[in-house]
């Protein structure tokens, strides 16, 4: 049984008579100890899908209208508030993108770090303090005994994100959801934080769900990948399969449009034309069809069935098995 199993999750936002389908029928698993990436551009619904797991969707206007979120076999959507509160931090922890805004500026690091431990683990504040110092040391904060008494403004961005990692670890969860954990950080700091997360996950057999738009980060750290576009998953598979053999034109488009460090000047980028659709007014048929250079008549009419490619790799594209042949013959002409 997977640690986390999400079945047909739909999170919609209702305002002014319009329905924004931010997450519209998403299903995936995360096994214990594995690193799964959720990849997509801004506005595709990737953050909403992770906030739905934690039930941190502002309601109204948002509402989980359908689906199941099974964690260790238990449906989180059937828990009451108090039961859900005990899951957060204790079983599933979260790291947010903005280390500058996700810590409270007027509360000391010690209080913020130990609050959850005393509540969730039932330990005394002294024990929590000791554990907090150990954690700060583990995430690479020098002089943790001194630093624990300080306030967030005394920490740099990278150091704050380390504090967030320590907080996420503090109640010994089984799953950490990291929503763009390094987007706000510099390259050399990014590498430090992601390596730290990956090491900690291996050391404690934690599952990681990394939400990112950065395909390089995915290639380096993920075991499996889900690609999201306009509220739905459009392709899923192991990291190697997705990069070596993308079967959705959007995935191929992403890979062709990013400049790569190992490619010289002059290597051509192939942009995806147009822009992502407005989630309040999705096109008919496949959501990607208006931007897709392989679209057929049927694509504008029916949402694609899933094509199973094997080894857990699937694509929601009518042309999943043929579009690349079209692409190759097109480029030789």
């Amino acid at each position: 049984m997977p640690l986390l199993q999400i079945n047909n999750l739909k999170t919609h936002f209702f305002s002014d008579g319009t329905v924004t389908k931010a997450v519209d029928g998403v299903s995936y698993d995360v096994e214990a100890g594995e690193t799964v990436a959720l990849v997509g551009e801004s506005g595709c619904g990737k953050s909403v899908s992770s906030l739905s797991i934690m039930q941190l969707i502002p309601q109204p206007p948002g509402k989980i209208v359908d689906g199941e979120i099974l964690f260790d076999g238990q449906n989180l959507l059937s828990l009451n508030r108090e039961e859900m509160r005990r899951m957060r931090g204790r079983e599933i922890a979260m790291i947010f993108q903005e280390p500058m805004t996700s810590l409270n500026p007027v509360i000391s690091i010690e209080t913020q770090l130990t609050e959850a431990m005393t509540l969730q683990l039932g330990i005394t504040s002294n024990q929590a303090r000791k554990k907090g110092i150990d954690l700060l040391e583990r995430v690479g904060i020098p002089e943790p005994e001194v630093r624990v008494r300080q306030y967030p403004h005394e920490f740099s961005g990278g150091m704050r994100q380390r504090v967030m990692v320590a907080m996420a670890l503090s109640c010994e969860p089984k799953l950490i959801i990291a929503d763009e954990p390094t987007t706000a950080l510099d390259v050399t700091i990014q590498a430090q934080i992601l390596d730290l997360l990956k090491d900690l996950a291996a050391e404690r057999e934690l599952a990681l769900l990394i939400i990112t738009h950065n395909l390089g980060v995915v290639a380096r750290y993920a075991d499996r990948i889900n690609i999201m576009y306009a509220g739905r998953f459009i392709e899923s598979g192991t990291c190697k399969d997705i990069f070596a053999d993308p079967r959705h034109p959007y995935t191929l488009g992403l890979l062709e449009s990013i400049p790569r460090l190992d490619q010289p000047k002059g290597s051509k980028l192939i942009p995806i034309p147009g822009q992502p659709p407005d989630l309040a007014g999705l096109p008919s048929g496949c959501n990607f069809q208006p931007r897709c250079r392989f679209a057929q008549e049927r694509c504008a009419v029916e949402y694609p069935d899933v094509t199973d490619i094997g080894n857990g790799h699937w694509s929601a594209c009518w042309e999943a098995n043929t579009f690349k042949i079209t692409a190759e013959s097109g480029s030789t002409n």
Binding site: G158, T188, Q192, P259, R260, P271
Partner: protein, 337 residues
Amino acid sequence: MTSTTPLLEVRNLSKEFPVGSGGILSRKKQIIKAVQDVSFSIQPGETLGLVGESGSGKTTLGRSIIRLHEPTSGEVLLDGKNILNLRHSALQATRRRMQIIFQDPYSSLDPRMNVGNIVGEGLLIHNLTNSKNEYRGRVEDLFELVGLSPLMMGRFPHEFSGGQRQRIGIARALAVEPDFIVCDEPVSALDVSIQAQILNLFEELQERLNLAYLFVAHDLSVVRHISDRIAVMYLGRIVEIAEGDELYRNPSHPYTQALISGIPIPDPVIEETRDRIVLTGEIPSPLNPPTGCVFNPRCPLSDERCPKIVPELRTVSHDHLSACINADGYGAVGAIT
């Protein structure tokens, strides 16, 4: 590289910012040395990439070159003529040749001006058109040049997406027919699929109009894609400068080596076998920079000489300069001026 006179030459440029007023209640007046002793040149039609992390001074350098900040010392030569002592009309005439495109397409366009007027403003300021009709025709051409419909001229910035706004910013810069454009993180606010559209546009425009770019960005993959040569900046100084392929294949400075290894390549097979250097620590405050080589506290190669010597940029191989006394070949060739 051709040996013609460079379009732009920057010599020993420094920019300092005073912080704190020095009043009775404030602490002692301090100085941030944002850019220190930077020299490089750009040929006509060439792209020089400038890469560095936040706080490295890359944006300040870009702005100092076109005098959006007044440099503290040094020279900026355009066609061999120092522009730092120009005033009034001479400065304005020079400004026409040097333009800038900003990072944030949301805050760099006046929300109360329609985009046609935003693009055309420079034409009026520099008196580049003789009649209303000519003006209108020029603005329409500019819209088409950057891939926007001239029918959109009457709209306002909020009606456009990030990618479209960046196209408007590009059209505005091109209106006055510059030779040189500072591109300050022009694609970092955009999504990957839109980023490629804008990068391709920069390349097409360069080819058509023989533009020279100083392309400032923190993303080395983007910089490598677009640049002929790349300069790496750390804490106000250029630590390495080389042709793009050379820099990627044979990085000489330990900071460049770490920067390259820190950037994941979107290919899991390559990622498995890459060498990794993960730096310890963070970029120090420019208020209180380390003595000697600014990189020495984080440097894996640092020895007892490094906190004492400020290494100058020297040739380590053909057209490849590095500022590390422990770099292979450093000092074997004479110092450059």
